[in-house]
Amino acid sequence: MGNKDGYIRQAWLVLVLAACFGAALAGVHVGLADRIEANKLGDTLEQVPALVSGAVEGRAETVGGRTVYRAVDRPGRCVGWVVPAGGQGFADRIELLIGLDAKAQTITGLYVLEQKETPGLGNRIEDAAWRRQFASKSTARVLAVTKAQTPGENEIQAVTGATVSSQSVTDIVNDAVARFRAELPAVSEH
């Protein structure tokens, strides 16, 4: 078998296949991307009533260059906001939905859209009991992560054995909330 034959020449099949498969995947992506986006949007809108009490639907708006969702009740009054946020977790990107009240003074809920954290450890950020810690937290102060048994008023108790994942989620929440609160005064009432 040729070994000094020129590595590139020997690998011609691999390169050709890589090009063909790449093209095929690009085609599949172009064909399916819209449906996948619509599915993800459906996930998000589905969560609005659970994240903001009294809300029946979410309406997309652009605030500060990002898409957020105004949570409205049946008559159409704004009862809160659902802010999508994301950031680096322990393993990979974490995507969240943060529920806020109408004036963004209290966090009303947290939902994990996507995560690839360690099963059994980091992925326990999806547990309803852990996420419930964020509800009723004031946004006046930045949230901190603690390992103590009884977390303070602006503290979140970390998942045991998954401090980095817990810290990542808290950081994402802090950043997103701070950004949104800065942009909120400029948003019109309706």
């Binding site: 691999v14 095929a24 459906g42």
Partner: protein, 207 residues
């Protein structure tokens, strides 16, 4: 019409179902067999995805088997498998979104499922497209059978349902352990023992 070497397509097909069953005999693909077998729906979706990838990879690898260089063949197998798994994953995300979320990272993990790369190495790289396709279909059926057996036990005992339809009477207390990983290991172990026992009992009778 004998192939270059090795079993005929029909033999490949039949072997895949039980004599060379990927889970019970070859002990491959154990990760999804344990992870997604707590309900029939997840198990059959996973079996369907594996079947698609296995068939496509076997056919493509068999078609180009004359061009493979020995020291680059694993790379070519993996490239092919990864492409089809990605297509299957995107298809699930588009058309079966709730199931896609339920299966989570286990669909991309099909890329490293040893069943597929083993079939490429053992069959597709050496035999005709027809034999490779027959092999893929047989092995996929075997895999579906294996997963279905485990999922039936786990879903019936753990949820009291089968394919989501209530089967057990409402007084049945669900065996929560069956839904969790320990139940998976217990079920797999017992079923594998049963298959082995049936296999040796058959051999003793015939000779």
């Amino acid at each position: 019409m004998a192939d270059e070497n090795g079993p005929t397509p029909l033999e490949r097909f039949i072997n895949g179902i039980l004599p060379e069953n990927p889970v019970y005999r070859q002990v491959l693909g154990i990760c999804p067999a344990l992870a997604v077998s707590n309900s029939m729906e997840s198990a059959m979706t996973m079996a369907g995805a594996v079947a698609f990838v296995l068939l496509c990879s076997n056919v493509v690898v068999s078609a180009i088997r004359g061009l493979l260089k020995p020291h680059l063949r694993i790379l070519v197998f993996t490239l092919t498998i990864a492409t089809f798994v990605t297509i299957a994953d995107r298809f699930l995300a588009a058309y079966m979104h709730p199931m896609s979320k339920k299966l989570g990272p286990y669909v991309p993990l099909i890329i490293v499922n040893c069943i597929i790369i083993a079939r490429c190495e053992v069959c597709a790289a050496r035999q005709s497209v027809f034999a490779a396709a027959a092999d893929a279909v047989g092995q996929s059926l075997g895999f579906a059978l294996a997963l279905g057996a485990i999922a039936t036990v786990r879903e019936l005992l753990g949820f009291g349902t089968w394919f989501g339809w209530a089967v057990m009477p409402s007084s049945w207390p669900p065996w929560v352990v069956m839904i969790l990983p320990p139940g998976a290991f217990i079920t797999l172990g017992l079923l594998m023992g049963a298959v082995n026992w049936i296999g040796t009992a058959g051999q003793k009778e015939s000779g």
